[in-house]
């Protein structure tokens, strides 16, 4: 009887805060670009793209940055800023358990920022360039990262400034090899999130990890690594016996098509009417995918790549 009571209490507690957050996020979904928009964008030049995006939800960020930057760089930084503002907005209006789950998901961007800072410091990138590539949803965290970018003179100093973070040990022990360090940070993130996440997030993470592992295997085999060595770089801790995500049987196992399938399935979750994290997760993925698509189009156009090739890599 007591167990039943605890279970029911947990159930109701876990579902609190989702009705408001999910509906608001669902309303925001209508502002995302549609398939028709992408078809128009593929036919435009970089300048036309800037003007077109300046009339969409990216207007505020693009006009703010237009005083300092122009062309591809302006759009790139505008996209980053817009993604950051979207995360900030959703995190600020989310409530109770929904907020907790959103925080867990956004931890991914905290790890992304650490990687960006370390990569930037290693390659002696300018401070403003590193800062414009950061995507931070939390003001305190933003100040913390800005402080590292401003005051750390090199890679080692940046690592030292992260000494109070739970992943410091990973940074310290893999300082020699940035590739391994980034892999270890990803592993840390997935292991961290899986402990507290709701089944929807856990399921998505597990699917994402499977695809990442597949990608790593293909890359490592192309580089001539032995199977035993490849095993070291795979992310473990997720049940791999469950049904695998497969593309259509006639298609060969292609990482791009697998990734497209994973994203499309996850994005459709925005329309699930349940008090779970699924709609917010779907929206986050749809927004990140939109930014990725726009970046692909802009970079492709800038480097005179054929529209058909760009289109093949878009997830629409």
């Amino acid at each position: 009887m007591n167990l039943q009571k605890i279970y029911l209490n947990n159930l109701s507690e876990n579902r609190r805060g989702f009705a408001y957050t999910n509906t608001r996020v669902r309303a925001m979904k209508h502002e995302l670009l549609t398939e028709n928009d992408y078809q128009k964008l593929l036919k435009m030049s970089v300048n036309e793209l800037t003007r077109y995006l300046g009339e969409t939800t990216y207007r505020k960020e693009i006009s703010e940055l237009a005083l300092k930057y122009s062309g591809v760089v302006l759009i790139e930084y505008g996209l980053n800023k817009n993604l950051e503002n979207t995360f900030k907005k959703i995190y600020s209006f989310s409530m109770k358990n929904a907020r907790h789950q959103i925080g867990l998901y956004l931890k991914k961007w905290e790890i992304f920022n650490v990687k960006t800072i370390l990569r930037g410091k290693l390659t002696k990138t300018s401070k403003s360039e590193i800062l414009n590539n950061l995507i931070v949803f939390d003001e305190h965290l933003k100040q913390f990262f800005e402080n590292i970018v401003e005051n750390a003179s090199d890679f080692d100093e940046a690592v030292l400034m992260l000494k109070n973070e739970p992943y410091y040990e990973i940074l310290r022990s893999n300082q020699e090899n940035l590739g391994v360090l980034e892999d270890e940070l990803d592993k840390y993130y997935y292991e961290f999130v899986v402990q507290e996440s709701q089944p929807e997030l856990k399921k998505y993470m597990s699917d994402e990890v499977k695809i990442l592992n597949q990608l790593n295997k293909i890359r490592a085999k192309n580089e001539g690594f032995e199977d035993e060595e490849i095993e070291k770089y795979l992310i473990k801790g997720f049940d791999n016996n469950k049904k695998k995500i497969k593309s259509k049987e006639s298609e060969p196992e292609n990482p791009l098509s697998l990734r497209k399938k994973l994203l499309k399935t996850a994005i459709r979750k925005v329309h699930i009417f349940k008090r779970t994290f699924a709609p917010v997760l779907g929206y986050f993925l749809a927004k990140e995918n939109e930014v990725r698509n726009l970046r692909l189009i802009i970079r492709g156009k800038h480097n005179n790549i054929d529209s058909e090739i760009i289109e093949q890599h878009l997830v629409i």
């Binding site: 009705a19 408001y20 957050t21 999910n22 509906t23 608001r24 996020v25 669902r26 309303a27 209508h30």
Partner: protein
């Protein structure tokens, strides 16, 4: 004995309106918070939100009619 029967009728009527009012309140909690979320993003959704908010109220009317019928039939 008559008092017990009267009590049972009163209890049945109260139960009918009580349960329906509670259910409507639960439904309106969810619809209200969701409607606020939608309105925060798009003000044009005010009328559809208001209509959706009112729909659960019909449950209370059913409850009220049922309790009146119980009292009426009991005489």
């Amino acid at each position: 004995m008559v008092e017990l029967e009267l009590g049972m009728v009163a209890f049945a009527a109260a139960f009918a309106i009580g349960i329906s009012a509670y259910s409507a309140a639960k439904a309106e909690t969810e619809i209200g918070t969701a409607a606020l979320g939608a309105l925060a993003e798009n003000e044009k959704l005010f009328v559809p939100s208001l209509i959706l908010m009112v729909i659960p109220e019909t449950i209370v009317i059913f409850g009220l009619v049922t309790s009146i019928l119980i009292i009426g039939l009991a005489g």
